[in-house]
């Protein structure tokens, strides 16, 4: 018989509404939502009502409730570290923290220190890293013992509203994409590229780092407003490209590739928010093609894995140290890209 664990959400916004609650609705044997906290009392009330949970307005009501096993941190980025540390101090069994884990390495290391004392299991919500097709493709590539010489992340997406509206009925309708901003000065452009890397590229930086472990040098950095970039990295014999354009007016295209001279792994992911199963991964060589797909999405895989870790004492697929190294890579990439940025006149 599956042991049912209880979740307390910190933040009842679109990620909670459109991603986690629909996924958890299909895992009621393993999870129940005990509390939903949001600074907007109406949001907390409506979202909690949808999943049979109790609403609350303060994080402490979630953290101090002994019936809550796992805290899901879906709050603004600036709150993540403080809330994760507080969850550890409160003795919570687990934390699922939406990306980024923290905004600085110091914050991330403080989370690690707190978790080491409390034994809290921390999982960062990078859904593609847990995507079953990606993980199968990663294992298959690793089994070749090749070293990737080329890695690419390409994220071309329409506005999130397309998919949010198909995944839930949001408490507050999703806002349309922002109008083009007035011309930004150089420092504003640099700040925007940092934000875009930590907000969008962060989805694929953990995947990238499994094949391309260190940033090396950023050779070219361009910003494509409002949420796009073109980055070229080089480290020894390895080259990496990160490309993104959002929002566009075409169907989504979200892919990750890693290639050696003998093998090429390509993973095509569905868009965010919708539970459309895993990506489709394909490992090609001169003579064979292996394909991987699962009806289980990366979102569902995260929650299944968290349950397995807490109930069956399964080892974590991705350690907190690895998540901190992923964050370090992202911060360094953001800083080097800002320094190399081609400033638009």
């Amino acid at each position: 018989m599956t042991r049912r664990l209880s979740i307390g959400f910190l933040g009842g916004g679109l990620v909670t509404q459109a991603i986690h609650l629909p996924v958890l609705a299909g895992m009621r044997d393993a999870w129940q939502v005990g509390k939903v906290m949001d600074v907007d009392a109406e949001v907390a009330r409506i979202v909690a009502e949808r999943c049979g949970a109790a609403p609350c307005a303060a994080a402490a009501e979630v953290l101090e409730d002994p019936s809550i096993d796992v805290v899901a941190i879906c709050s603004p980025n600036a709150c993540h570290a403080e809330q994760a540390i507080a969850a550890c101090h409160a003795g919570k069994r687990g934390v699922l923290c939406e990306k980024p884990l923290a905004t600085t390495l110091q914050e991330a290391q403080a989370i690690a220190a707190a978790a080491a004392v409390s034994g809290t299991k921390i999982l960062v919500g990078t859904m593609h890293l847990y995507d079953p097709a990606f993980r199968a493709g990663l294992r298959a590539f690793q089994a070749t013992r090749d070293v990737a010489c080329y890695v690419k992340s390409a994220i071309y997406l329409p506005s999130n509203g397309h998919f949010i509206d198909l995944a839930t009925e949001a408490v507050h309708p999703s806002t349309p994409p922002p109008a083009a901003a007035a011309m930004l000065n150089g420092e504003e452009q640099r700040q925007r590229i940092r934000q875009t890397i930590l907000g969008l590229a962060i989805h694929h930086i953990p995947l990238l780092r499994r094949f391309y472990p260190a940033v090396g040098a950023v050779l070219e950095a361009r910003r494509l407003p409002p949420f796009g970039y073109s980055l070229l990295l080089h480290n020894g014999d390895q080259i990496a490209e990160l490309l993104a354009f959002m929002p566009g007016q075409w169907p989504p295209y979200w892919t990750f590739e890693a290639a050696s001279e003998r093998h090429s792994l390509t993973v095509r992911f569905p868009p965010s928010y919708v539970a459309a199963g895993s990506g489709h991964a394909q490992l090609d060589s001169a003579t064979t093609t292996s394909a991987f797909h699962s009806p289980i999405s990366g979102y569902e895989a995260q929650w299944r894995h968290m349950h397995d870790v807490l109930v069956n004492d399964a080892p974590q697929l991705e350690s907190l140290d690895a998540a901190i190294d992923d964050l370090g890579f992202a911060i360094e990439l953001a800083e080097q890209s800002a320094a190399m940025l081609e400033i638009a006149a």
Binding site: C149, Y156, L224, I239, E241, L243, W250, E261
Partner: protein, 264 residues
């Protein structure tokens, strides 16, 4: 009535074998001969160029350069000079029908901010990466406009990446070539309103180009054409000999591309 032209293949065995396969699909237009003057002389970039050019005779009406990306800028110039006024065809991976090129151009006012072109090459010889970069420059010239500049961004023993500028609305162009187990060229352009995707396989010979246009209406692909770039290149040469097309723009584009790749 279709005019048939005689063809003398180059001495390069690998290339000759490939051209046999391609020309076997165009029996009304071309006939391979092994002696005497031929209408068309195949020039192989990897063979003895001096000897090949010396074989141009009074009966030679045209040259077909089978792997132009492997020539130096000087060698290409020498071929054009020795050819005199004769027609010169180029064997390109990225050769399409005019209709296919028009289809792929779609919206000529489109200004992509990302133009991601990449080539994979299975050959390990020294000129293979450069030849792949050449094919990408020719592809860009055919689809978007005249190449005005190339800046090499990074180079390893197995990869090369360069930024390219064109006389067109296309921006943010990056071309790359890397060694692996297959021969393929892929292009992806991204603007707010339009995405274009193209995949070409150098081998097998008749795999259709994968083409896709994505916009607010969704995605669409044209009816596949089971014809490789080399066959299309030979058909273009036949059209040129029949006075139905000119090659000067393409030759000028090739000369520009080889000049830009001079350092490779």
């Amino acid at each position: 009535m279709t005019t048939q032209y005689s063809v003398a293949l180059a001495q390069d065995e690998a290339d000759a074998g490939f051209q046999h396969i391609v020309l076997a699909t165009l029996p009304n237009r071309f006939r391979i001969v092994s002696d005497g003057d031929a209408d068309i002389l195949v020039i192989s970039a990897t063979g003895d160029l001096k000897r090949q050019l010396a074989a141009i005779g009074p009966g030679t009406r045209a040259l077909f350069v089978s792997a132009p990306g492997r020539l130096s800028a000087e060698a290409f110039k020498a071929i054009r000079e020795r050819a005199g006024g004769r027609t010169i065809g180029l064997g390109l991976v990225a050769a399409f029908t005019d209709a296919a090129a028009d289809w792929l151009r779609a919206d000529s006012a489109d200004s992509p901010g990302i133009v991601d072109v990449e080539a994979e090459v299975s050959s390990s010889d020294a000129g293979a990466l450069r030849a792949a970069l050449f094919e990408q420059l020719m592809l860009l010239d055919a689809l978007a406009g005249r190449t005005t500049g190339l800046r090499m961004l990074t180079r390893t023993s197995g990869q090369a990446v360069a930024a390219v500028t064109l006389d067109s609305t296309w921006r943010g162009i990056r071309i790359s070539a890397r060694r692996n187990f297959r021969d393929r060229v892929a292009l992806h352009t991204v603007s707010r309103s339009l995405r274009r995707q193209l995949t070409l396989t150098a081998h097998p010979h008749a795999e259709p180009a994968g083409m896709r246009i994505c916009d607010a209406a969704g995605s669409r692909s044209p009816f596949p054409v089971y014809e490789g770039g080399q066959r299309r290149s030979w058909l273009d040469l036949h059209d040129a000999l029949e006075g139905k097309r000119g090659f000067q723009d393409r030759l000028a584009a090739a000369a520009r591309a080889l000049e830009l790749l001079r350092f490779e």
